[in-house]
């Protein structure tokens, strides 16, 4: 693979302070943290999810993600509604994506490229290598928030998660109105066969 630049494993030792961290290092560390948890055989799925949620809380900026997903609708929300939306959205992500951990099958993550984006954002491109299956591409959109990098979008095979959820949330808000949408999200979260006890996923400050 011509793009194959940096192997994840080579990037582990890092001493630079978080503030000056290179975006690729940030993503490599995150991938490493997650894979270490997934590879632990003596942990229950619940514990693994808890640990991965803790990683996601540090590495992702859920308030920004929620705000970008709500987009123009954000203005229409009162502060409690903003909090509720943000919380339900984060919970939705952790419930639905948390279930994927059982599918982990020794995939590895290779950082293929990175580039600077407007206003100081950064994109780090990765390739998930699946033994005995098709590779797929995952790009992380990073933004510097309070001095450290945070993920504000994940683009899987050229599909932006924020854009995709924005179109769905837009549909919900315009068809159901604000209050009904929040009720719908809460119901969807509690009805999904969540392995988590309710209230497990709290939004980061």
């Amino acid at each position: 693979m011509p793009f194959l630049v940096l192997l994840l494993a080579l990037m582990v030792p890092q001493t630079a302070s978080a503030a000056e961290q290179a975006p690729t290092v940030f993503v490599a560390e995150m991938a490493d943290e997650v894979i270490v948890v997934l590879k632990k055989e003596n942990l229950s799925d619940e514990t693994k999810i808890e640990k991965i949620e803790a990683i996601a809380d540090r590495r992702f900026h859920f308030p920004s993600i929620a705000r970008l997903v709500a987009a123009r609708n954000w203005r229409r929300l009162s502060n409690p509604q903003k909090k509720a939306f943000s919380k339900e959205f984060q919970k939705h992500l952790s419930v639905t994506y948390g279930k994927n951990i059982s599918r982990f099958d020794n995939q590895t993550i290779v950082i293929t490229d990175d580039r600077e984006e407007p206003r100081g954002d950064w994109t780090v491109k990765t390739r998930i290598v699946q033994p005995g299956g098709d590779d797929f591409l995952v790009d992380y959109r990073l933004r510097k928030i309070k001095g450290s990098w945070r993920v504000i979008d994940v683009v899987v095979e050229h599909i932006s998660l924020v854009a995709n959820f924005r179109s769905q949330v837009q549909e919900l808000f315009s068809k159901r109105g604000v209050e009904d949408t929040l009720v719908f999200l809460a119901e969807k979260n509690s009805s999904g066969q969540s392995i988590l006890p309710p209230g497990q996923a709290e939004p980061s400050r």
């Binding site: 909090k83 994109t123 933004r143 769905q168 549909e171």
Partner: protein
């Protein structure tokens, strides 16, 4: 067993009739496209000038920009979903139970290799000479070293998979997509990509023409096999979405944009509206 598949082509008479039928269908669809064309053009101009979807918050909920056929599309979408739930998925599950994943992957590789002419011709039509050459060498390697295409030996030689279709070719030539369209049994598309589908089908079929019952059987078999490979993923996507129809529509548009504009340009166009909202103040709440 007698030799090369090309040599076992059936006699032209019967085939010609069928090809006539196919080309009639292509022309019918092309004609149909004419009716869509004004709408399509209108769509393109509004897409170019109007602000992002998020702006339309206060509009009535019945019309979504870029999806004038939504009621019909939703009906076909749920028909497809039912068909999947009741027929395709159960069959695929059974197949998955019987066949180990390497077998499924081998079958997938075999079909992908057979569809080489579709990729090759389209890459040439798009003027993508290097990828066309690459796909040709992949075909040669996989047909020989990969034993008729069941192993993707080329990937081990760092010959990366290429993909191209006629809808994409038309897009690169500047043909507008027209309104979003869900095809029965197929899924997300639009008039341009539907024409593309017919042309690609034609390319794929005529090159390796066998006989219709066998062809139909192999399409069904391939569909089941591919569905078996996607068993977990489709369920994940269903669960992860608030409105599967809207999610699929957006995903289709994002992916087609990437295929036609290239990933750099598609990302650039998307990101302008996506990551910066005018009144994106940094207030704490």
């Amino acid at each position: 067993m007698s030799g090369h598949p090309i040599k076992s082509l059936p006699v032209p008479q019967g085939m010609r009739k069928r090809l006539d039928l196919l080309s009639t269908l292509v022309w019918l669809l092309a004609l149909g496209l004419l009716f869509f064309a004004p709408k399509a053009a209108a769509e393109v101009t509004t897409e170019a000038t109007s602000p992002p979807i998020a702006e339309s918050v206060d509009q009535p909920s019945t019309t979504t920009p870029g999806d004038p056929l939504e009621p019909m599309n939703r009906a076909i979408f749920s028909f497809n979903e039912d068909l999947d739930d009741w027929v395709l998925k159960p069959v695929a599950k059974t197949w998955n139970f019987v066949a180990p994943t390497p077998v499924e992957l081998a079958i997938e590789n075999f079909y992908r290799n057979l569809l080489f002419p579709v990729r090759f011709v389209n890459l040439l039509l798009q003027g993508e000479l290097d990828p066309a050459a690459l796909s040709l060498s992949r075909f040669c390697v996989n047909t020989t070293l990969g034993i008729g295409g069941i192993f993707d030996a080329a990937s081990f030689l760092d010959l990366e998979p290429q993909s191209a279709d006629f809808g994409q070719t038309l897009g690169k030539w500047g043909v507008p997509p027209g309104p979003y369209l869900i095809l029965p049994l197929w899924g997300p598309s639009n008039p341009r990509d539907s024409v593309g589908l017919l042309v690609d089908g034609y390319l794929g079929v005529t090159t390796f023409f066998i006989d219709w019952p066998i062809l139909l059987g192999s399409v069904v078999a391939e569909t089941i096999n591919r569905r078996a490979l996607l068993l977990g993923q489709v369920e994940d996507i269903k669960e992860a979405s608030f409105d599967l129809y809207v999610s699929a529509r957006d995903a289709y548009k994002q992916q087609r944009n990437e295929r036609i504009l290239g990933s750099e340009e598609a990302a650039r166009q998307r990101d302008e509206d996506l990551y910066f909202i005018d009144d994106f103040d940094e207030e704490e709440w």
